[in-house]
Symmetry: C2
Subunit: 459 residues, 2 copies
């Protein structure tokens, strides 16, 4: 008798699980079909990239992008949409940036540079000084004040080409850009030039954030990125003539903070409206290029998640909230303001997913969460295998959602193929033309599928 | 006592396996380091693409590519290098190809077309006829001779956008191109126009092979591909005016077969020289573009496998042979000649790997082999995981190595990301500029690693 009951229970559960699996598989098919045959990401991104363009925090374009994003969310007929006020830094590139190498008086060659975000200007007549090339801060400190004083410090450590994940190479090299000016200024340097964080040898300088730490205003020195080809040239010329002079002129400027906004919308949960599943990206970009990969792609993919739910008439059990964070690039103010508000009103975030690694073919997701949650997530991997997006790893999620971290929320980041990303990142190259429609759509589909699973099975 | 012996044996084997694993891991690191920091694929491909260019079988450029390939293999100091003579078809695109849609007399709009490889010319004054649009052969046959006779048949079935592997979409659509002219000619059509096999809407027509089956010379009708945008336009105009006329003019031509060659080289095995591990690709390409993805990438990746072995001073136990097949695109003569020779002299091929799916980020390999061999291969997957090239599936390998199939040899194909491939394939777009250096190098590294494992562990 027991045996019969046992067998019956076994078959009941097996068929239940089988049935559940096939429902999920069918829903995945529907999600992918919409994304790939009637997707809207590419059209949205074309507008954001070409009709709005680069949208650095505090700029007119950033405000235009906020208004556009709000309008687009309104067209999705969400249950509520609002703007969260945030004060953001305002830095302006100015009207010129120029550099040249003078190997002997009058014998100059110009090299492509761009000011780093937050840098001060040079004097209006520019800076001309000898160059000292270093690979890292240890090397710089070893040289000491005597050898650095009055010089242009040239940080030339390349991103490592032999790491498979290019974000790791980036992490290993980015301190030159972020802290280089501070470290060099402490030793009396007049300016810093940083090799662009780009694995390719080309002529595009790549900007990015930097900090002067606790340096007083008068101690700050100008900082610029030089293209990888420019860096190779400078290094090679230095090896022949260590007395050459580097000329730099830029008139960028910092202004007082200005008012800006996170753009937020949500579909209210039909069963557990107080449990929030967040999907998002950052709306601001650098002023070079039009921010198509960083992070226009993430913005339109996040919107697509909600659009597909609406299209499928899928009513989430939990609240699915979309957040377009402002000021990820040079301050993270939007992310911090959002996390503070969440803490203040004690909102329960179950899950947060960010797409901020480019619009390339998605390979999987990284998860920042507790062990038992990751075990559950791993059990979902099978659904993603047919879509070739089953690279599931523990790791960082995204800069904007990281401030939400506690011991409950599951944070996740879309992981697209990373090989080409740093060829575009923070440069004139990051334009809509560098986006592949299918790859962008596959990312949106994978994100929708993951949010759907979280809503269906929870944690 | 038995227990002690058992434990000792267990530890002996465990440490042996552990040690073996770490040797493999270390060798993988070395292979990847060379490929990514001092690789030669990109430089080689630049030459093949830009200094030689498109190299259709039987053309002057095909001969130039054969000579170049032989010279490059010579510079690798292999144990032997030879040319295998093969007679190949010779088809020439001619001096013009032109098409237009005439919606009313004198009211014409030109559309981008290109002759399909092997097609006959139109009469010198061109062909002008009404158009009948169909999706497949069933639809065509249903229309019957009465409705098809005297018309231009327009095959307009798009590649399915909702399949993840774009090669599957290609397989589902390619019969229109390959057999379309034959099927339409049987019903009295005057010409066929085939929608380009491209998932993107753009203005580039994509050529490719076709066959007239058993049709007599005088029964053959001209066949051309129309760009995807052109196909959409034609279809949309037809929906408004089914009486419009399509004008096609092309002067391509078939010539008698000419002598060409497979280019072959090898490093003789130090232990089992009679066991052959083949790595290869096809040297010929279409005449549009410069064949950088199809299949220049595979050529230079194959060469890189041997170059890395030489660089590492790795002496393979078995013979590692490189084969550059001629005439994959329109005849497969090189592949057939090679397989015939293998059979004739009873050579033992253990393994054959082809790269012919583009130079994009490698995702893994497909294997055409017996179950027990696949089990062994699956046990190697762990080594590829850190390199994100661990998508191992059963499936087709490559057109050139398929004729080697028997119940012993293991056939394998590199599987790069397929999302962008058909945007370039067989069109003016397939140029060196569409190649990403890192992605190309990662493919070469993965291939080298796999060949190394086969040589080390055999089957």
């Amino acid at each position: 008798m027991f045996k019969i009951i046992f067998i019956s229970i076994f078959f009941f559960f097996s068929s239940f699980l089988f049935c559940q699996s096939s429902i999920v598989e069918e829903d995945f098919r529907k999600i992918y079909k919409i994304a790939l045959t009637e997707g809207k990401t590419y059209e949205w991104l074309e507008h954001l990239s070409n009709q709005i363009g680069g949208r650095l925090s505090g700029s007119f374009n950033a405000q235009r992008s906020i208004e556009w994003a709000k309008e687009e969310l309104e067209s999705l007929e969400l249950d509520s949409i609002w703007l969260q006020p945030v004060m953001v830094p305002k830095w302006v590139r100015g009207t010129f940036e120029y550099a040249s190498i003078e190997s002997s008086p009058g014998n100059t060659i110009s090299v492509p540079v761009c000011a780093l975000g937050g840098s001060v200007a040079t004097p209006s007549s520019g800076i001309s000084a000898n160059v000292i090339e270093v690979n890292d801060f240890d090397e710089l400190k070893e040289l000491g004040k005597k050898k650095v004083q009055g010089k242009v410090v040239f940080f030339n450590r390349p991103m490592s080409p032999d790491l498979i994940n290019t974000f790791e190479s980036y992490s290993q090299a980015v301190n030159q850009r972020f802290n280089g000016a501070e470290e060099a200024a402490k030793l009396g340097a007049r300016a810093v030039i940083v090799r662009s964080l780009n694995l390719k040898l080309d002529d595009f300088p790549h900007t990015g954030s930097m900090s002067y730490g606790n340096l007083k205003l008068r101690e700050r020195i100008p900082a610029a990125a030089i293209s990888t080809n420019g860096a190779e040239l400078l290094s090679s010329m230095l090896s022949l003539n260590s007395n050459l002079k580097f000329f730099l002129k830029q008139n960028c400027k910092n202004y007082p903070d200005v008012l800006s906004y996170n753009v937020i919308g949500e579909i209210r949960g039909s069963e557990d409206p107080d449990e929030i599943i967040l999907v998002g990206a950052h709306l601001d970009s650098w002023d070079l290029g039009d921010g198509a990969h960083d992070d226009g792609a993430g913005i339109v993919q996040s919107m697509e998640v909600l659009r597909i739910f609406k299209k499928l008439k899928y009513k989430p059990k939990k609240t699915v909230r979309i957040v377009f964070f402002i000021n990820e690039e040079n301050g993270l103010r939007g992310a911090l303001a959002y996390a503070n508000q969440v803490k203040k009103i004690n909102e329960k975030h179950l899950f947060a997913l960010e797409s901020d690694a480019g619009g390339f073919t998605p390979r999987g997701f990284s998860f920042d969460c507790m062990d038992e949650d990751f075990q559950k997530i791993i059990s979902w991997k099978k659904y993603f295998e047919p879509y070739m997006v089953d690279y599931f790893v523990r790791g960082g999620s995204g800069a904007d959602i990281k401030p939400l971290k506690n011991n409950k929320v599951v944070l996740a980041g879309l992981r697209p193929d990373s090989q080409r990303y740093f060829e575009y990142h923070h440069s004139d190259n990051d334009t809509f033309e560098a986006i592949n429609k299918r790859e962008l759509e596959l990312g949106a589909a994978a994100m929708t599928a993951l949010i759907y699973l979280v809503d269906t099975f929870g944690f």
